[in-house]
Assembly symmetry: C2
């Protein structure tokens, strides 16, 4: 029996999905019979076989078509796409989507809707596949769904945004932030408005999804601390290098461990991190993505690959599609929460703090006093030789402390006369 | 409904499987009702709940028990275990196993048997799970089964043996082969007879399984060229380091590419490889395993994690078990062959050749003449300063050529008067 697919959207990813399913697989088990687009006359960069596939502009033509069992949503956005996905599920159609923003924002509603629809056991259960929503071509969703059934995950952390990873790589080589951003925009990696990437919002949506998969609980997006890469400068890479590290933008979901056991509250956050060069996350170069999972049974496992791109993302959509067709998709898109876990996003870590200052007497002592007042213990002070006494910088690293403590400390430092700007601070992955 | 499991074997992995399923999952969906062991009175390092689980010594007690739907085989070996696995499948029971030797040797028979049993559509289909057979805790089997449905794989290569990876890591730090082997044996990583590990036979079984998964064809084990690590010495690591490389024991299955397209014959082989330090495979340290998959849609993706150990291996057995229980296991353990691919294990690569010699005149010229006679083009000659003229060595690297050409060349070099022993040669991963 052939599964008929209605695809919503026919852009970069959609074109890849169409080509793979219709040309490469060319299988009797799945075929795309309808594609819904905004403008049927717009030229496309892939060939649609009109003898098999009808191009429509009204999504109800897919939603009301009883011959269509599966809706592939590759339009993006959280308005039109949301309505279409929800309507499809309600109508008993399975859904495969690459839409991370939709999933991150409507995670609980999606889980609830799938459960409600599937409560009617007289009908075929609907499935919801979203492998392509996080880390493009890396099969991290399916791996978290199926490889950790008997395990306890302690931490998931990942480089989930290719654009910023590309930019940080160029900055490590000495390029300026503004130049690198322009290069990324010229190459089509970064949007004209790059906020979603450089402010970390894209990673925030993805780590919320990974946290739900790994720990079974929903962490509201707007409660997740999110520090982007806009304050990082070339000098931070020089300091990082002197510590045998690089800087990566990392989404982290980790259970705090007071006594060696990861059984405390769950912290989810997005931030640049100082990463040792021999750490798995340091191996993601260019636009590459990487996810490291730490668990009781496995210790550390890692998964690397392309985070974006037409065929990489399409490959994950097709893999999900074939899981639905072959009925090997898990019945519930997210695991059930078996035990209650507290959320405390005021995470604990060692921190890197770069202070820009006008040179004078007693600066280190002042910083020391302020750190003591906030209960922050200083681990090391690094200072490159001062060449410009009016605009110098120094780096302080801390022992493990809370994010809120370091934030309060940096706010106090900023108020000092010597400070030229707000200190730049972010967590460090300690040597392992 | 509860799936009743009969487990065959109760050693290291079996104990882990029992603990995870019975204590951690403690689920109503799966329970181990029988364990078959050789000696019921032997003390075990895990607690068996006798109110639920019966310990038996006759495997027919499991095979003839209609209440048991799933047999977990963690006994190992290819005699008793083979009979039990085949009988279970014939009897309509699904099987989950960690037994790479069994699968590699009886791959086609297993596929055939599963197909035959499942041809009777009136009965529940049997499933065959073997995630734990390759790279312990890394979910590489399931990933190859499900993430590459719409992709074309060009190459799978992996560090699939933790013992030899541990040994090579120590040798990189300067330790001698014999000392390292003893240390590995003392730590319980290596067997008293280490042949299966150090001669590469373990990796050979695993790469045969990965090749079947990635390319759909069976490459007979005894046709796979297999070079172990026994000839590697500390001096090779010194040469490797001077080239920015390390040495790893790698199983490789690659389609040859004459004109940039990987569409030629499939080569499968096991050999130490010179690996650039920034290559993904170089990141597997200690007992860790790593697999890199190169494909048309994804480019390179990599998967790293623990290759062995009680809970890592048990975790994969449990993941398979839950896939059978939740009915998300693929219907066929291996993909169908869609197109015919030739096998040509006379693989093409650049090679590293270390020649041990007694110093004299004209040695380099002789090697050059012999290389030319075999059509081998020399890329570079590296020679550390000679300190002992009676026992010196030099390294020659070649341009891409065939394994058989280099083998013939080394046989000719060995016959020369200056040669102290057979040259040590293995392929190099070129910079990428």
């Amino acid at each position: 029996m052939t599964t008929c697919i209605g695809m919503i959207g026919a852009g970069t990813v959609g074109g890849g999905v169409y080509e793979i399913i219709m040309n490469r697989l060319n299988s009797s088990s799945a075929t795309i019979t309808k594609i819904c687009v905004r403008d049927a006359n717009k030229p496309r960069d892939f060939q649609i076989d009109s003898s098999i596939t009808q191009v429509v502009t009204d999504v109800s033509s897919i939603l009301n078509d009883d011959s269509i069992d599966l809706v592939v949503e590759v339009a993006g956005g959280t308005t039109f796409a949301k309505d279409a996905v929800f309507a499809a599920l309600k109508g008993g159609k399975s859904v495969v989507t690459a839409n991370k923003a939709l999933i991150a924002e409507y995670l609980d509603e999606i889980v609830k809707l799938v459960d409600e629809v599937n409560a009617d056991k007289s009908k075929k259960a609907v499935k919801f596949g979203y492998e392509a929503s996080v880390c493009g071509g890396i099969p991290i969703i399916h791996t978290l769904q199926s490889a950790y059934k008997g395990d306890i995950i302690n931490e998931v952390s990942g480089i989930c945004n290719g654009t910023t990873n590309f930019m940080l790589g160029k900055m490590e080589d000495g390029a300026d932030y503004d130049d690198v951003l322009k290069e990324a925009q010229d190459l089509g990696f970064a949007e004209a408005d790059p906020t979603a990437d450089v402010a970390g919002h894209d990673v925030r949506a993805k780590i919320a999804i990974l946290a739900k998969l790994a720990f079974g609980i929903t962490v509201p997006i707007d409660t997740i601390p999110c520090i982007g890469i806009t304050e990082i400068s070339v000098v931070d890479f020089a300091y990082a290098k002197s510590m045998g590290c690089t800087i990566k933008l990392v989404g982290t979901a980790v259970r705090q461990s007071e006594f060696g056991e990861h059984d405390g509250a769950l912290s989810v956050y997005v931030s640049p991190k100082l990463v040792p060069l021999n750490h798995l996350l340091a191996s993601a170069t260019g636009c590459g993505n990487a996810v490291a999972v730490d668990s009781s049974n496995l210790g550390t496992a890692s998964f690397t690959g392309p985070g974006a791109g037409r065929y990489a993302t399409a490959n994950s959509v097709v893999a999900d599609t074939m899981r639905v067709v072959n009925d090997t998709c898990p019945s519930s898109p997210f695991p059930m929460l078996s035990s209650s876990i507290d959320i405390d996003n005021d995470f604990v870590s060692a921190f890197y703090i770069r202070i820009s200052f006008q040179d004078g007497l007693g600066i280190i002592r002042s910083v020391g006093d302020l750190a003591e007042s906030q209960g922050v213990s200083i681990h090391s002070i690094l200072q490159q030789p001062i060449t410009d006494r009016m605009a110098a910088d120094t780096v302080v690293t801390t022992e493990a402390c809370k994010y809120s403590q370091v934030k309060a400390l940096c706010e106090l430092i900023e108020k000092e006369d010597f400070a030229l700007s707000a200190p730049v601070f972010f967590p460090m992955i300690s040597d392992y």
